[in-house]
């Protein structure tokens, strides 16, 4: 018997008047909670949970002092990742775009960060300094901005030419920059930089942005991420430290970073703006998930592929209902 679309819809929407069976919803819910609790407790007791100790500036400055030192110089010269980032931290670049949409730039600088003062000068200023460093700090503070820039850029370039080996950098017109960088390195080695970066501006602080960004400007965090198999190019977004499951539900988000053009930052315009394109794609796909019932094709697949025959096998068998072609 063929049934009109309207009649089928009315049937699907109407309260079920056919055969029913006993159903204790409270009992079912209670048993389910108990079962899940048992499984979760079992997993917790026997497997625990991931908790790798956070990195510290002290660890960075001790394990790789040259890299920390060079990063401090980059913060002073304005060549670090944070200093050149753009919104929301500064206006050093226009940031990423999706075609004509420059959303990053349009959102503006809402978390301004001055890497020179907030990453280097202010933390150093909180310390009881040696005469040499105090003098260098005073020289820096009293110099013109153009002079500061010239010193820092010259030293930054020299370190780059020396491939990051600080001890081999030739002498030059670097002003107080080497002393300041060494002072910050020594401060980090002593363990004082972590707190100094966090506590700027007051007693109570809960914003770790400066610490995280400074970390990311150097090689220490990046190398640790690679070691832990957490890099985005290797599905790291859905991984967790150790052998624990991570955010596996981010697989689709992570997937885009594995394929061209998204995994090639030299590919323009998409690869170079992969973060923005992927965010937009995932936003559209999330909306698509919600709207599946009204998307032609996708909404019809369950009717065409008979997985439902397995789900309602008992009902179909009992009522002798054969599959109809859609």
């Amino acid at each position: 018997m063929s049934v009109s679309k309207e009649a089928k819809h009315a049937f699907d929407a109407a309260p079920w008047t056919g055969k029913t069976k006993r159903y204790d919803i409270v009992k079912e819910g209670s048993i389910a909670v108990a079962l899940v609790a048992i499984v979760a407790i079992f997993l917790s007791l026997f497997l625990g949970s991931p908790d790798d100790t956070p990195l510290t500036f002290k660890g960075w400055a001790i394990s790789n002092p040259d890299n920390f030192y060079a990063t401090a110089v980059q913060e002073l010269s304005g060549s670090s990742g944070t200093a050149t980032y753009g919104a929301p931290y500064n206006k050093a670049s226009d940031g990423l775009n999706v075609g004509p949409l420059w959303l990053q730039k349009w959102a503006g600088v809402t978390r301004p960060i001055d890497t020179v003062n907030e990453f280097v000068i202010a933390p150093l200023s909180t310390q009881v300094l040696s005469t040499e460093i105090a003098s260098a700090l005073a020289t820096w503070k009293s110099a013109a901005d153009s002079q500061k820039h010239d010193w820092a850029v010259a030293y930054d370039d020299a370190i780059t030419k020396a491939e990051g080996k600080i001890s081999t950098v030739p002498a030059g017109a670097y002003g107080p920059v080497p002393v300041l960088a060494q002072g910050l390195t020594d401060m980090a080695k002593g363990g004082a930089l972590d707190a100094a970066l966090l506590s700027q501006g007051g007693f109570f602080q809960t914003d770790n942005t400066k610490q995280i960004l400074f970390f990311g400007d150097g090689a220490y965090l990046d190398e640790a991420g690679t070691t832990a198999n957490l890099q985005g190019g290797t599905w790291g977004m859905m991984n967790e430290t150790g052998r624990y499951p991570g955010q596996a539900w981010l697989w689709l988000y992570s997937f885009w970073y594995q394929i061209p053009p998204f995994n090639n930052e030299n590919s323009k315009p998409i690869g170079a703006n992969a973060d923005a394109y992927i965010m937009v794609i995932m936003g559209i796909m999330s909306l698509g998930l919600i709207l599946i019932p009204v998307i032609p094709g996708v909404r019809s697949l369950p009717l065409r592929i008979p997985i439902h025959r397995g789900i309602w096998r008992q009902y179909y068998d009992e009522n002798g209902i054969k599959r109809r072609k859609k």
């Binding site: 699907d12 940031g95 209902i321």
Partner: protein
């Protein structure tokens, strides 16, 4: 009396969702598959997440680093989240292959899908407030995505305080409300009948 907002709301509620629908003691006979279990399992895992999360909230985000009880509660929270997503994804796929939006059930589907999206956001902020290396890494990496589309201007993944408050207050509230609406929709509309079921004597209708 009938003009009163309160009376109108009560009448509408009683008409659409009487107590017999809210707490039924029977259900259609076609509800006979393991796939139906995953909805209630998802809710059960959510209950475990909330319960363990409340305990963790009382002691703060760094408690579990130094306390065995804290470590256990954190593990319970962690594994409940993993189970929650496994159950929810199976539930979601099951409902997709049932075309469970049929018969005026679009909003049931939409609130369920929205709950999935809200769950991802809530879990994500949870990973950011672990106060361990993973949090450092995720916050540094994730900021670029949010910044690239302007969201980072107000949603700062590197700000532990903001993420913690969103994770323990705002997002669970949003997820909780969506979930409640979703469950009420399920109770109101009932479980979708099988594909190909027809209003014939053979179908039982």
């Amino acid at each position: 009396m009938s003009e009163m907002w309160t009376a109108k709301l009560r009448n509408k509620w009683q008409k659409n969702l009487p107590i017999e629908k809210l707490l039924p003691d029977d259900q259609p006979a076609y509800v006979a598959s393991w796939i139906y279990v995953f909805g209630v399992l998802t809710l059960s895992a959510l209950a475990m997440i909330i319960a363990s999360g409340i305990v963790l909230a009382f002691e703060g985000p760094a408690w579990y680093h130094t306390s065995d009880v804290g470590k256990f509660m954190n593990s319970l929270h962690f594994w409940s989240v993993q189970l929650f997503f496994v159950f929810m994804v199976i539930h979601l796929w099951g409902k997709y292959w049932m075309a469970a939006w049929r018969g005026n059930r679009f909003r049931t589907w939409a609130t369920g899908a929205l709950a999935f999206v809200a769950s991802i956001a809530t879990a994500f902020t949870g990973y950011l407030v672990q106060t361990n290396f993973d949090s450092q890494w995720i916050s540094f990496e994730a900021k670029d995505g949010f910044n690239s589309v302007g969201i980072g201007a107000f949603f700062t993944v590197t700000n532990l305080g903001q993420m913690l408050l969103l994770h323990v207050a705002f997002l669970p509230l949003i997820l909780g409300v969506i979930t409640v609406i979703h469950v009420l929709m399920v109770r109101r509309r009932g479980v979708v009948p099988p594909i190909d079921a027809e209003p014939t004597p053979g179908s039982g209708a």
